[in-house]
C-alpha cells in the first residue's frame, strides 16, 4: 500500500471459514493490496464446516459444501498450499516455516487455525473406533463405521453431538447420546426447552443416557463399550466424542505468542506479536473463545477493514446464537436463557403443538430468548438481543405469534452490517446491493448472486423480507416466486389441498383461477401435481386430465432418448407362464423391438417401440399395462416362497400376486414399489421398498419407507400381523395415508422422514377406527381405476387423440 510497485505479503495459516472469509473481505475492500499465500493442513480448499452434518447424513456431497474452489484461489492470485502444516512462526524475522521445512516471509500474518475436538482424558480413549467430529476426515470415518457397525455412542449432548448423532441414526446405526448433565444443550436451553428437544429427538429414534459420566472405554484394541461412574455400562462399537472444542494454539504457543485458552487478541484481532493477527475459533477475545460461525464473520470483517486501512469500529464481542440443524427440530437460542432474579420472562408453552417460546428481559430490554418448535422469528429476536432493544407490545405480539404480519417485517430494523446468512457470511447490505444493482426479484436470484439461503436455508424468511423491503411496490409480481408448489403460486401443498376440499374445486383450471395462479395455464410442475391431488380428493368426480400428464403417463409407455418407447406388460408378482413368454417373444419379433431387458422389478421390458405402434403392440400382447412408467404401484417383487423353497415359511408369490392385483393402477404421489418375502432371508429385498413384507412362521412383518434409488434408505418396521386380512388392511391404510398426505413426487422415504414413523404408527397401527376409515377410502379409490391399454384400444376417439398421426405424402403432385 505504501509502495506503488511492491505489494505487501499476507500469509494466512489456516484454510478454513475464518481465514478465507477474512481474505474474501480483504479482496472486496482493496483488491490487489496484498500478495496472499494460504496454508491449510487439510487436503481440501475452504469448505463449509458447519454443513458437515449434511455430508454425514448424505444429503450433501463434499463437493457441495466446498465454498471456494481451487479455481477461485487461482483467479484471485492466491497461492494455496493444501495438506501443508505450518510448524513455526519467527516473529522477529517475520517468516513462517512449514513442517516440511519450506519458509515463507510475511508482512502481515493471520492465524486462523480453528479448533479441534476435546477428547475426554479417560482410560482407553486411545482405542480404535473413537473419533471426534470436526473435519471431512472424521466425517469419512463415521460414514465407514456406519457401514460396518451397528451400535454407536455419541458423548456430548450439545449442538455438535446431537447433529452427529442424528447423522449416524440416519445412516442406520443404533445411536445413544451420552450426556453428563440432566439436560441437553444446557448451555443454550432451560430445562423445559431441553426436555422438549429430547422428546422430539426420541420420536425420531435417538436414545439418551442422561446424567452419565464416562469413566472408561471398554474393549481390547477396539472400543466395545463405555463404563460410567455409576457402574453401569453401555455397548458401543463406535464412539463419537463431541463434548466440546479446544482452540488450536500449539503453533502460536511454540512461536512465543501470548496464549491463554485461545490465542489472546485485542479488539483489532492483534496478537502479542507485531503484525500477527488471529481470527476465529483459535483466538480468545476479552476472555471468550467462540465456537460458532457468526463471531468469526464479525471478527473477519473488523480484521479485513483494519488490514485494508479502512476505518472500523473495534470488535466488541458477539452475541452468540444457536440454531440446531436437524430436520424436523427447530431450536434457537441466543443471549440469556435461564430464569434469574433480575430478569423478567415472557413464556409460552404450547404442549399440543410442541412449541416453546421464551423471551428474557433485563431492565426493560430484550436480553435473550429461546424458541423451540417454531423458530420463524429467530432473526428478529437475535437482532433485538444484539442491539438491546426495549421490549414493546409489538415485540411481544410478534414473538408470541399474536401479531398481524407487517410488510417488510423486521428487516427494516436490521443494521446494514448485520449478518443475515450465517452459513455464508452474507450481510443485509450485500443483499440490498445485489437487488439494486442487478434488478433481482426473487430469493433464488439472491441465492445465486450472494450465496445467502444456499446452505441451511434458515435465513430464507429474512432474505424474503429484505427483498420485499427493497423492492417496495415492485415486490408483488415477485411474490409468486417464493415457496409455493411451483412458480405459479405462493401456496404450499397443504394450502392447495385444503382449498380444493373447502371450495369444492374439481378441475385444475378451477384451482388455478380460484386460487389466483399467476400463470392461468399452469406449468410442468403444478399441472401433473394438481391432476393428482384432484383425483385423490375426488375419486368419483374428477376426470383425469391427459394434457396435464407427463409424457410417460399420458402415452402409457416409457419414452426413451430416441423418441421410441419401452413397453412392460404386467407380470403379477414376477410370475409368468411359458405361453405368455412365447407370446411376448413373438410380439417382440413382429415389432422389431431393439432390446428385451429383464428389469429390476422382475419384469420384461420391450425397448425401442415406435410411438405409433404402441396401441397395436398392446393389442397383440393382450396383457394389462405393467405401469413401469407411472407414479403408481410399479411392481410387487417376490421370492419363490413356500410353494417351492426349502426355507419358505409363507406363500410370498401368492401374496405378492394378490397385492399387485389389488393396488395396481392407482395414482400415488410418486412411484411405489413393494416386495413380499417368504422368510427373513429377504431374497426379494424388502428393505429398499416403499412397503416390504417379510413372512415369518405365523406372522408377516411390514416394513415401510425403504428406497433403493437416488437417496437410499432402509425400510423401518411398521408392525407385525398374524393374518393375511390384517396385512391387507394395514397395506391399504398405509398407502392411502401416504396418498392423502404426501406431496406430489415425494417418495415414502422422504414422506416418512417428514411426518415421522411414530406418527405413522399412531395413525395406522394404534388407531383401529382410523385405519378402517383409511382402508375404506382406499376401496372407494380402487373402484375407479381402469386398465389403460385396453381403455385406449376400446375408445377410438381417445386412441386418435393420443396416438393418431397425420401422414402427408410428398412429391405426388409436383414431380
Amino acid at each position: 500500500m505504501q509502495h506503488e510497485n511492491k505489494r505487501l505479503r499476507l500469509v494466512v495459516v489456516g484454510n478454513g471459514m475464518a481465514g478465507i472469509n477474512t481474505v474474501e473481505q480483504i479482496l472486496k475492500l482493496s483488491p490487489g493490496a496484498y500478495d496472499i499465500t494460504v496454508f491449510g493442513s487439510e487436503p481440501y480448499p475452504n469448505y463449509n464446516r458447519i454443513q458437515l452434518s449434511y455430508v454425514l447424513e448424505k444429503s450433501k456431497s463434499i463437493d457441495e459444501i466446498i465454498l471456494n474452489s481451487r479455481e477461485w484461489y487461482a483467479a484471485n492470485g492466491i497461492e494455496l498450499h493444501t495438506g501443508t502444516t505450518v510448524a513455526y512462526i519467527d516473529t522477529a524475522a517475520k517468516t513462517v516455516t512449514t513442517s516440511d521445512g519450506a519458509a515463507a516471509p510475511y508482512d502481515k500474518l493471520i492465524i486462523a487455525t480453528g479448533s479441534k475436538p476435546f477428547m475426554l482424558p479417560v482410560a482407553g480413549v486411545d482405542k480404535q473406533g473413537i473419533v471426534g467430529f470436526r473435519d471431512i476426515a472424521d466425517c469419512e470415518t463415521m460414514l465407514r463405521a456406519a457401514g460396518q457397525y451397528r451400535k454407536a455412542a455419541v458423548i456430548g449432548g450439545g449442538l455438535l453431538g446431537l447433529e452427529a448423532a442424528k447423522g449416524l441414526l440416519k445412516l442406520g446405526m443404533d445411536v445413544t447420546v451420552v450426556h453428563l448433565m440432566e439436560d441437553l444443550m444446557e448451555r443454550q436451553l432451560d430445562h423445559t426447552a431441553a426436555l422438549l428437544l429430547r422428546q422430539e429427538l426420541e420420536l425420531q429414534g435417538l436414545k439418551f443416557a442422561m446424567g452419565k459420566k464416562t469413566e472408561e472405554f471398554l474393549g481390547e484394541t477396539r472400543v466395545s463399550g463405555l463404563r460410567f461412574s455409576d457402574g453401569t455400562t453401555l455397548d458401543a462399537e463406535f464412539v463419537v466424542m463431541a463434548v466440546g472444542i479446544k482452540p488450536n494454539v500449539e503453533l502460536a504457543r511454540s512461536s512465543g505468542l501470548e496464549v491463554n485458552r485461545g490465542i489472546v487478541v485485542d479488539d483489532l484481532l492483534r496478537t502479542s506479536a507485531e503484525d500477527v493477527y488471529a481470527v476465529g475459533e483459535c483466538n480468545e477475545h476479552r476472555g471468550v473463545c467462540y465456537g460458532l460461525v457468526a463471531p468469526l464473520f464479525e471478527q473477519g470483517a473488523v480484521l479485513a477493514k483494519h488490514l485494508c486501512g479502512v476505518d472500523t469500529v473495534p470488535y466488541a464481542g458477539s452475541v452468540v446464537s444457536t440454531q440446531l440443524k436437524i430436520s424436523g427440530v427447530e431450536v434457537f437460542s441466543a443471549g440469556e436463557f435461564m430464569d434469574a432474579p433480575d430478569l423478567t420472562v415472557v413464556r409460552m408453552h404450547d404442549e399440543w403443538r410442541r412449541i416453546y417460546k421464551k423471551v428474557l428481559i433485563r431492565g426493560g430490554k430484550v436480553a435473550g430468548g429461546v424458541l423451540i418448535g417454531d423458530s420463524s422469528q429467530s432473526a428478529r429476536l437475535q437482532q433485538w438481543i444484539r442491539t438491546g432493544t426495549v421490549m414493546t407490545d409489538d415485540i411481544h405480539a410478534t414473538i408470541m405469534g399474536t401479531a398481524v404480519a407487517q410488510p417488510g417485517g423486521g428487516a427494516a430494523e436490521l443494521a446494514d452490517e448485520e449478518i443475515v446468512c450465517g452459513c455464508n457470511g452474507v450481510t443485509k447490505k450485500m443483499i440490498v446491493d445485489v437487488i439494486r444493482e442487478r434488478d433481482l426479484t426473487t430469493v433464488d436470484e439472491i441465492k445465486m448472486a450472494t450465496g445467502a439461503t444456499r446452505s441451511c436455508g434458515g435465513c430464507k424468511p429474512v432474505v424474503e423480507q429484505i427483498l420485499k423491503l427493497t423492492l417496495g411496490d415492485k415486490y408483488d409480481s415477485a411474490a409468486a416466486k417464493k415457496q409455493g408448489i411451483c412458480d405459479c403460486t405462493t401456496l404450499s401443498r397443504d394450502e392447495v389441498v385444503a382449498a380444493i376440499k373447502e371450495k369444492g374445486l374439481i378441475t385444475s383450471k378451477e384451482v388455478r383461477y380460484a386460487l389466483d395462479w399467476n400463470n392461468k395455464e399452469g406449468c410442468s410442475k403444478c399441472r401433473p401435481a394438481l391432476n393428482y391431488y384432484l383425483g385423490m380428493i375426488w375419486p368419483q368426480e374428477h376426470e383425469d386430465e391427459k394434457d396435464s400428464r407427463f409424457v410417460n403417463e399420458r402415452m402409457h409407455g416409457n419414452i426413451q432418448k430416441d423418441g421410441t418407447f419401452g413397453v412392460v406388460p404386467r407380470m403379477y408378482g414376477g410370475v409368468t407362464t411359458p405361453e405368455d413368454l412365447r407370446l411376448i417373444a413373438d410380439v417382440a419379433v413382429k415389432y422389431n423391438v431393439k432390446l428385451v431387458k429383464v428389469t429390476g422389478g422382475q419384469r420384461l421390458d420391450l425397448l425401442g417401440v415406435k410411438r405409433e405402434d404402441l396401441p397395436a403392440i398392446w393389442s397383440d400382447l393382450g396383457m394389462p399395462s405393467g405401469y413401469a412408467y407411472a407414479k403408481a404401484l410399479r411392481t410387487v417383487k417376490t421370492c419363490v416362497g413356500s410353494q417351492f423353497c426349502r426355507f419358505g415359511t409363507k406363500d410370498s408369490m401368492g401374496m405378492g400376486i394378490v397385492l399387485e392385483k389389488k393396488y395396481e393402477r392407482l395414482d400415488m404421489p410418486a412411484k411405489f414399489k413393494m416386495a413380499v418375502n417368504g422368510c427373513p432371508r429377504n431374497c426379494a429385498e424388502s428393505s429398499t421398498k416403499d412397503i416390504g413384507i417379510v413372512g415369518n412362521e405365523g406372522a408377516w412383518e411390514i416394513y415401510v419407507g425403504g428406497n433403493g434409488g437416488i437417496k437410499a434408505r432402509l425400510a423401518e418396521l411398521l408392525c407385525k400381523v398374524r393374518t393375511d386380512e390384517e396385512l391387507i388392511e394395514i397395506v391399504s391404510a398405509f398407502t392411502q395415508y401416504y396418498r392423502e398426505t404426501g406431496k406430489y413426487l415425494e417418495r415414502t422415504s422422504d414422506w416418512i422422514e417428514r411426518v415421522g414413523l411414530e406418527h405413522v404408527k399412531a395413525v395406522i397401527v394404534e388407531d383401529a377406527a382410523g385405519r378402517k376409515a383409511l382402508a375404506d377410502r382406499m376401496e372407494a379409490a380402487l373402484e375407479r381405476v381402469r386398465e389403460p391399454w385396453q381403455e385406449i384400444l376400446d375408445n377410438p376417439n381417445l386412441r386418435d387423440r393420443l396416438f393418431g398421426e397425420i401422414k402427408v405424402p410428398v412429391g405426388g403432385q409436383t414431380e
Binding site: N519, K520, E521, G522, C523, S524, R527, P528, K546, D547, S548, F550, V551, R554, M555, I559, Q560, K561, D562, G563, R611, E612, R801, L802, G804, E805, I806, K807, V808, P809, V810, G811, T814, E815
Partner: protein, 120 residues
C-alpha cells in the same frame, strides 16, 4: 391466401381445426419430416420440428402445453410455440413452420426438410 394459392406455395393440408386436440401435440409426417403440431387453449395452431433442443435428445410432441409455451418432456425447457425459441435461462431454437387456417382447414408448410430436391 386462398387454398389453391397456399398449395401452389408449397403448403400441405393437414386436416381440420377440430382434428387437433387442445394442449396435446399431434404428430404430422410430411414425407420424411416429423412435425409436432399443437393447438393452444386459445385455438392458435403451431407447428415445430419434433426434436428436443436439449442436450439429451428426444422428441417434443408429448410435452405439456401451457399458454403459448411448450414444456420439453425430456429436459423441461420452455419452448415458445410461436417462435420455437427456448426461454431463459436455457438457450436453444426449434425449427418452426408456418401454419395457415382457411375455412377451418389447416395448412402447414413449406417444409424444406420434406423435399430434398431444390424447388422455389
Amino acid at each position: 391466401m386462398t387454398k389453391s394459392e397456399l398449395e401452389a406455395s408449397g403448403y400441405y393440408r393437414i386436416g381440420a381445426v377440430g382434428d387437433f386436440p387442445e394442449r396435446m401435440g399431434r404428430l404430422v409426417h410430411i414425407g420424411a419430416a416429423e412435425i409436432a403440431v399443437f393447438k393452444t387453449s386459445e385455438g392458435a395452431i403451431h407447428a415445430l420440428a419434433n426434436r428436443s433442443p436439449g442436450p439429451r435428445g428426444g422428441t417434443i410432441v408429448d410435452g405439456i402445453v401451457s399458454g403459448d409455451v411448450l414444456y420439453d418432456p425430456i429436459c423441461d425447457w420452455r419452448i415458445g410455440l410461436a417462435d420455437g425459441a427456448v426461454r431463459a435461462p436455457d438457450r436453444g431454437q426449434v425449427a418452426v413452420y408456418p401454419v395457415r387456417i382457411v375455412d377451418d382447414e389447416v395448412y402447414l408448410g413449406p417444409v424444406p426438410e420434406a423435399r430434398p430436391q431444390t424447388e422455389a
